[in-house]
Symmetry: D2
Subunit: 288 residues, 4 copies
């Protein structure tokens, strides 16, 4: 989905039973949709069927506006499906939240400005003024919201207004060192992606590299996840690790960790943009 | 140290100050010891110097029995060193503890019987009779100690007696599913190696693969560590990880984990046999 | 397919066109087969459809002996399919070829004797007598065929006879240091699995660790592949790597490589036993 | 060496013999240099000693200008040492060469402008105009040299002049798709770092991702190395790999490869800036 290639993507989960796959693929084929990708998976223990299908709309006989309705009526209801339908003519709109560290921000903006992703990034929001210089380099609006205990609710309200104004569809916390309120999160369920600088669930919370060094682990990691009201406990999207040794100081862990963080965050953002992630019971299904 | 190659190894730590390295290497060179390996590391934050030196004894002018004394008198006391001295003519003697799972046991015994390690394994101890068949294949004595809450202290006493009888210098818990008492552990400080089937400190305790699956992590791991009286919290020796996906069931995590466990445990055992591990403040320094 | 669980597996490839997936899944569902796993993949560039389906036969209405014929008549011919059908009541029969190194052999036998795999290993064949002691430990027949330039054709003929006698369905070269003749290979197309001790295509041929050391690479690897008449050039099944440094001697590369080799070979054997590998144009499709 | 911290670094190699380590550390200690890092390694097979030492100059009694001379006279000549001496008050000056792909360029510039490295990057040189927009974002001079067979020698002469004018000490080829002439390379021995988009020595030369896809490998890689007159055959500095599957198209390999390339190149640049690399017989010793 690198551009408007006139395609649709549907993400489905429902109770497993025979024939779902056949019925869905027939629905598309029969109406002259050309399936480009199909990935399905059945969770046998819980009896749940998951599927992602992407198909070409060029000759599809059902008008785009009606596809959701038809699908629901003809198939969704019958199989008790939860589904989400996306079209390539709707470009996702992303807001970046950042504090003072530039490495994740640069990685996101480099990919964005190189045209790697089919996404629009109209705004960067920060609780510090430091990263405005980076935003300017890439010509993106920078909004600075200093946050204190006292003004937090008020500032979040303004941020939400801004997101609304810019029609933001999802948020990316690129080492944003402020805990979002449950109220804020509620506006973007499964639509706020955070990078945590540890191999979760190890070292949740503050100063994970210090904690890792203290514990003497031999591998450190980074974790991208959707934000929920439980701190660092939302559905994990991606993780990666790197080997360290007793010789590495906390500063070296922080340095090595930066490379993990930016790659793991960008991978999660990419999967989200490509509509490849489905959440279920606080876990993710990440399609290929 | 693949055999009795007539070498000595010294592991040292002490407060850092200028000249330690020069003094120690001079001590060896001047008395006609030929240094084969030297690895040193300074922890700048805590001001601690760590070193491992291995040298050839063939023409060393100080008699083997006197080396420790001379080193301590001439250097150790002056630099407030804590040191351990090992000689290649003393072969380490290892006991394996196992319960019902054979994968780590086989990996240890395959390396042992292939002559990969300079070690003697005279006994295998178990709380179940199942693995006796494996022990027999490799011609190793198998001692079965069924353990209940009531008889635990008594059985551990018998195990300790056995270890003494066989002059065991260190123990390896190859998926031994019994928590050793603090009393037992006290007899083998930094000399009991355990494999925990998770990426510690994540998922300490029972059923880590179930917990990992439940949490929806994208990477699982295994950790080898020295056993202390804090469960799964001793100094970490080695860790490794492997990537999983939402498609992996708990059974598949267990299967993938087996390969991690056996390799990570065997690596730790190898480092221990080669006298390459030094513990300090519940962390390990693993020399190369 | 850990045992005879009364299932069938079909591996299919054919020119891609709409509806294949639906037709195959319907064929199974409609005749009361319960699909347990389905993995499909379309190679868009070459227009080829690949699929693996595993289903329960308990209530399947077509008799097992007739499934191949019915499937071919009703679906295979129509879609120009190449397919292979396997039933869980036919246990694969594996022969191990080994020379002098025990690490891969032990890893295979440990898994086998622990019941990890649904396979029978009746014989071990070698060009050296050294590994007989290992074969005996596991109670497996060991056949020793010393090979010279002069007797090679003759010895291979005897080996083939032996494989026939024991109804061997596939062979595993566990560091077998003899090149098999094209004639021999022809009897077991895509049924001889080799482990090569390098990250192919780098360092094909003899002494890859020496070559890797000479070249100064920072990562070494191992590769399992099906044997074809082109040396070290057959379809790759699995690869893995490990990091090394300038400090590692050739001996240390060999030691580190052993762990890669045994795991990479065993993974390939497992995928083969589970009927998860399909070869196409000298490449493999490895289903999940 | 994140800034001018008033330190010296010496990189040494020489024939191994007893006492080198002691003599060098004494030389520094005795003249009131405070050793910050020391890493040494002995290649036993070839009998070569390698060392990197970094020390504080604050109270060092030999004037900076004289250190090289004194060291050579007192120690270097005696031990037949080849050594290089660096001081933190000399900031390395780097030129980036780039063609049309921005990912490595962005990664280098992001680290540079975030102050991660103690380096000056005054110029970017390209054979295409495309990346000027990126250079401008970071306020760096961009020089465009279109290159044809006919003008290559002439253009390289101009590039060399430019490097001289800007006092460039090393060059980084950030996916620069032009082979440099042997003549050009001769001006910067062990001072031109290239990123090759394969796991060398596999797939040297053009279109490595296409070749990797064609061969059906299961892992792809990237390699940073010093440029020599043998194409893609210079001393390897760093490598990294990522797992792929049969599902990955060439385009997906290219995408996954980008993340490897930028990280592997930046790691090599960092090691070079920190004076941690020594080359010997077309291999590198990379100190910690």
């Amino acid at each position: 989905m690198r551009g408007n290639d006139n395609t649709a993507v549907i993400l489905i989960h429902c109770p497993d039973r025979p024939g779902i796959l056949a019925v869905v693929t027939e629905f598309i084929n029969q109406h002259k949709g050309n399936i480009l990708y199909l990935d399905q998976y059945v969770n046998r223990e819980e009896g749940v069927f998951f599927m992602r299908v992407k198909w070409q709309l060029d000759e599809f006989q059902i008008p785009q506006k009606k596809i959701g309705e038809y699908f629901n009526t003809l198939i969704g209801l019958r199989f008790q499906m939860t589904f989400r339908l996306y079209f390539s003519d709707t470009k996702p709109r992303m807001a970046i939240f950042v504090s003072k560290m530039p490495h994740c921000l640069y990685d996101l903006l480099a990919r964005y400005s190189s045209g790697e992703w089919y996404v629009e990034i109209p705004i960067i929001i920060s609780n510090h003024p430091d990263m405005e210089v980076v935003a300017k380099r890439f010509g993106i609006e920078y909004y600075y919201f200093p946050i204190t205990k006292e003004n937090k609710a008020e500032q979040e309200a303004k941020q939400l207004e801004l997101l609304k104004k810019y029609k933001i569809t999802f948020c990316v916390l690129a080492r944003y060192m402020q805990v979002l309120s449950s109220d804020f999160i509620r506006h973007y369920p499964d639509r706020i992606i955070n990078i945590h600088h540890s191999f979760l669930p190890a070292f949740a919370g503050a100063k994970p590299y210090h904690a890792a060094h203290q514990r003497g682990v031999k591998i450190i990691g980074a974790t991208s996840h959707y934000v929920t009201s439980d701190l660092d406990a939302g559905p994990i999207i991606d993780q990666d690790v790197t080997r360290i040794s007793h010789k590495d100081t906390v500063e070296e862990l922080i340095k090595k960790g930066r490379d993990l963080e930016k790659i793991v965050l960008s991978h999660a953002v990419e999967k989200h943009i490509e509509r490849k992630i489905l959440t279920y019971k606080n876990r993710t299904v990440v399609f290929q």
